[in-house]
Subunit: 244 residues, 2 copies
DNA sequence: TCGATTTATTGTCAAGGTGACGATAACTAC
DNA sequence: GTAGTTATCGTCACCTTGACAATAAATCGA
């Protein structure tokens, strides 16, 4: 007998974004202060409803742009995962598709007083429970963090946190902030510069900083993530974070 | 000014499942023959609508059970990713949350003639274009395959393709089928048995097969995936698939 | 101007993991 | 029994990594 299809339930679908950046050696996440119920006044991930005829990543980018006042969001945006319609919003079943943005530190516009206010907060503050997030956003943040941490191991996405050009030390600071560990500068330098197809020397150097000037690198052409393709396993063998 | 929320669009939400298994050294995927339009008569991934009050993985498991006639689906089921409402179904915007099942080979009930018929097909047949899939299911399958391949590298999920107890050679056959490569039996044996916390010797042996009897192993307690937790990186350093 | 300090970069060395492959062990098939 | 097959144990050269010495090239402070 043909299956009797229940009336195809329709769900409100939102996109949320875990936007991460490294600022002054600290990993930060972009949060907004909610102006409407539920969780009014609480901190939450930026996000909003998907519009008809819109794609998921597109919606995520649009919401991010709207809520930060930044037109062109820099960095690498990818889908993280979906969080089931059941029991995550007191108003009813809402499906949310979480996204992950790895971005260089960009300033968010401190919007007018009655718009939702977006700002960067240290991730550690959330993990330690100093800051509480609305809905199931703490779990989403935890998943995003784990995704980011593992991506740094085998993909070139660590550079998404840096500007167009960066030093090895800046890249190392990214790894240290995301992983929450210290890495030996000499060994990191060897791995970063010694991995074929990862970094390209721009020929230029930093000036004005303390200490010896550092060479500026950019992501090698071959390591650029192809849109739609899975991020390539450029770091092979991977650059593993220290365990234990 | 407060953002003017457009009427929260609601979308039909489906779950699809890429169910993979290894049978006779060949990687297979579970496909159904569609009985209704669109793509009537074509092959597609099993799946269906999410019901109100249902979670995503739950829905995926339910649909799988319904369409195979198997009550308790074995193996490891996890979310793969979501595929945007835009332009993937000629009937309109439908959001689908794809899932991945890694399972030992289980027989699907050849249901009555007018139910959707589910069966295992070699993945290679789809990749080579011999079999065409409905909707964007070929892309979903490709993503699932990549996910499965990379999971075998660092997680213990290869054993999800095996029964409760298995030999090293059976596990190696899984790796070879999923990765599409040959692996040196001696080196694989060394890595599999030499990784602490991965496998447990049951003390029992195979009998009746050709060649020397093999020891039977099971997944070590410490490597069991905790539900809700990210699958653990038991294989550390990872067991990398050969590149090039 | 001259160390002192800071950071970048190049090496060195031992330990551990991997790929390639030899050698046995312990069965089944005939 | 003998041949064939598969499992398991070893060996060895090579590569990568972690720990750490040494040098290079700037800024900073007096």
């Amino acid at each position: 007998m043909p299956k009797s299809y229940p009336a195809p339930a329709r769900f409100p679908v939102t996109v949320d974004v875990v936007a991460l950046t490294v600022s002054e050696d600290v990993l930060n996440v972009l949060l907004i202060t909610r102006l409407i119920k539920p969780f009014r006044g609480a901190l939450a991930l930026p996000g909003g409803f998907v519009l008809a005829g819109e794609d998921l990543v597109t919606a995520a980018g649009r919401e991010l742009a709207e809520e930060t006042g930044v037109e062109q969001i820099p960095g690498h945006l990818e889908q993280l995962g979906s969080y089931g319609p059941k029991g995550r919003d007191p108003r009813g079943d809402v499906l949310t598709v979480a996204h992950l943005l790895l971005a260089p530190n960009f300033p968010v516009l401190s919007a007018g007083s009655d718009a939702e206010h977006a700002a960067w907060y240290p991730v550690s503050q959330v993990l330690e429970g100093v800051l509480k997030l609305a809905f199931d956003h703490e779990r989403i943040l935890a998943d995003a963090l784990e995704r980011a941490r593992s991506k740094l191991e085998y993909s070139p996405l660590g550079v998404a946190f840096c500007g167009e050009e960066f030093t090895i030390a800046q890249l190392r600071a990214v790894y240290e902030a995301v992983w929450g560990t210290r890495l030996d500068p000499r060994n990191f330098h060897r791995k970063a510069t010694g991995t074929p197809g990862f970094l390209e020397d721009t020929g230029r150097m930093t000036t004005g900083d303390a200490g010896r000037p550092a060479a500026l690198f950019r992501l090698a052409e071959a390591a650029r993530p192809l849109t739609g393709q899975p991020t390539r396993a450029v770091l092979n063998p991977p650059l593993m974070r220290p365990r234990d």
